[in-house]
């Protein structure tokens, strides 16, 4: 029985991870291929990286995408944290069901529907109030905030419901105002969740093709739009080079985030323990006195 499960586990995990990682590995390997025919090996070369960095169109699109992603991830974290706070801490209230519905629906909504509906909203708004004038970075950022804040909300909400609220209560008992409690106690504790929410929103924004295509105007092509129009015509090795750079960044990011989270947890646990110990002492001295 035990033997059986070990063998089963080894086979399943090997096959599963091979399926998940072979495509990514193939992207990386062929980015160093001399030949233009991506999958025919023509010797080692880094020339596609050079070609990538000389491609104005890709560089401009990448710069726009990064600006959009930073802006929308930051605002999505603010809005998503508020929504997560409301859902996890404010208890039942009128309209809570609608709010929780509005925050989870974008997670599964097909992108063509979200994209179309946002575009029609912007067109209607322009007719009615004259804003946003035309489509471009503003409309892209608003759309990205809307669909990424749902992910932040879920991350923050689940972190808050796991979190013991006794520290917040203690701060309240000691007379801290709610906003002070939030900035001094809650925020530092949920900071890792905010960080991963930000990174998630950033990645999703950087990667979105469908919604962006609907709400982008002429002259505001993001990186996925340029990639899509390029790979529609077939494989092209400089896209492999781009993918490799992305994979390396993600791998480094995951490593740093992993180390950071582990360290944060250690510090947090220690602080919480010290606070509890101090509290215990205080209670005992009060009892004596």
């Amino acid at each position: 029985m035990k033997q059986g499960i070990t063998v089963f586990r080894a086979i399943v995990l090997t096959l599963g991870f091979a399926f998940l990682y072979i495509p990514i590995a193939s992207l990386i390997v062929y980015s160093f291929n001399e030949s233009r025919l991506v999958t025919v090996w023509g010797g080692f070369s880094t020339k596609w990286y050079g070609a990538l960095f000389r491609n104005e169109q890709i560089l401009n699109a990448a710069w726009l995408s990064i600006k959009v992603a930073v802006l929308s991830a930051t605002l999505a974290v603010v809005l998503g944290t508020l929504a997560g706070m409301v859902l996890a801490r404010f208890g039942p209230f009128k309209g809570r069901t609608l709010l929780s519905g509005l925050t989870t629906a974008p997670l599964v909504m097909p992108e063509v529907i979200t994209g179309l509906s946002l575009l029609l909203l912007f067109v209607t708004m322009e007719q009615l109030i004259g804003w946003p004038a035309g489509r471009g970075m503003t409309t892209i950022v608003i759309s990205h905030i809307t669909f990424t804040m749902a992910f932040v909300t879920v991350v923050v909400q689940s972190r808050l419901s796991q979190m013991d609220d006794s520290l917040e209560e203690a701060a309240m008992d000691l007379g801290a105002r709610p906003h002070k409690v939030f900035f001094l106690i809650t925020l530092p504790i949920i900071f890792p969740a905010l960080l991963s929410g930000w990174l998630l929103a950033f990645t999703l924004s950087l990667d979105d093709l469908v919604i962006t295509s609907f709400v982008a105007g002429p002259g505001s092509s993001t990186l996925p739009m340029v990639i899509f129009s390029k790979v529609r015509l077939g494989v092209s090795p400089d896209i492999n080079a781009l993918a490799t750079i992305l994979v390396v960044i993600v791998a480094i990011g995951a490593l740093v985030a992993g180390i950071f989270t582990a360290r944060q947890k250690k510090i947090r646990d220690r602080d919480a323990q010290m606070a509890l110990a101090a509290n215990q002492q205080m209670i005992e001295s009060l009892k004596k006195g």
Partner: protein, 304 residues
């Protein structure tokens, strides 16, 4: 906690609630109303390319013209019906394959030692952090006629000439299963990790064979995970656009592609809106089902 918050910061509390609430109403809820409105309007060659619904007819008489032609068009033209059924079929089969592949993986990870578990889950989620578009693109290089998989099959001698895999339904299934597999594994793992192993021991003590114990204990207990995972894969897969357009046959009808074509190529906004509304009506039930499940899962945070 809640009571104290109420007493101390009712104003702040309302403000905190209002900001995300308003944002979502303006940028998520109202847009659907507009889509619904435009799906009832008539196409015209202008910008925006549709006629207004409301007319001032005579004095103080607001006339509403509802044009049902767009929906009639969807029913009459076979193309749309075929595209809907095809999308549902492709999404359904892909979801099933995801479950069949994802369940053993989630199970194997959940039965690993706690420290290995976290690393393995990180490895499951990691591809999700690299670009979705580029991961779909990777399959073009693998599946095309002189691609990796054909070369490999030729080399081991299973086939003697390249086998058309790209631009087939097979490629679309591979693409969807590959892209959405992490969404299946995550909820399944979260569920299976909580499984009380003593239940399995009890079942075996009572004479169950291991597979019987799995079938009678593990599988029924993991039902919430299975439902959440299937909905997370199925709902977005029905409207998928990128995968069928990059990997599928150009003639393959999927509703996401049809909507895209109506909008970008035919510039028929009312019909595109009607397509979106019909798709939404179909998806409303699974979406509400998913929300119900999500809310039940997050229930711990509600009753504080």
């Amino acid at each position: 906690m809640t009571a104290r918050l109420k007493r101390l910061g009712l104003r702040g509390r309302n403000l905190v609630t209002a900001v995300p609430y308003l944002w979502l109403i303006v940028f998520f809820l109202i847009p659907f109303a507009i889509v619904l409105k435009i799906s009832f309007s008539t196409t015209q060659i202008a910008m925006p390319p549709y006629e207004p619904l409301l007319h001032w007819a005579g004095e103080k008489m607001l006339q509403i013209q509802l044009n049902l032609a767009n929906f009639a068009f969807l029913v009459q033209d076979d193309l749309y019906g075929t595209a809907y059924l095809n999308s549902i079929w492709v999404a359904g089969v892909s979801t099933l394959i995801c479950l069949l592949i994802g369940y053993p993986i989630a199970y194997a990870i959940a039965r690993s030692s706690p420290s290995t578990r976290n690393i393995l889950m990180l490895l499951v989620v990691l591809p999700f952090w690299t670009s979705f578009l580029l991961r779909v693109y990777a399959w073009i290089g693998i599946l095309k006629n002189n691609g990796l998989l054909n070369n490999f099959l030729l080399w081991i001698g299973v086939i003697d000439q390249p086998f058309q895999m790209l631009q087939t339904d097979f490629a679309v299934y591979v693409g969807i299963v590959y892209s959405y597999l992490p969404f299946m594994i995550l909820p399944l793992y979260a569920n299976l990790e909580k499984l009380d192993l003593t239940l399995l021991e009890a079942a075996e003590d009572l004479g169950c064979r291991p597979w019987q114990a799995f079938y009678k204990v593990t599988l029924p207990l993991s039902k919430p995970g299975i439902i959440a995972g299937c909905l997370l894969v199925f709902i977005p897969a029905v409207g998928e656009f990128v995968i069928p357009s990059l990997l599928g046959d150009p003639g393959m009808l999927m509703i996401g592609k049809v909507l895209w074509t109506e909008f970008f190529n035919n510039r028929d906004w009312p019909v595109a809106s009607a397509v979106a509304i019909a798709l939404l009506l179909f998806l409303v039930i699974p979406i509400m089902f998913y929300q119900r499940a999500q809310d039940a899962e997050a229930g711990g945070g509600v009753h504080r």
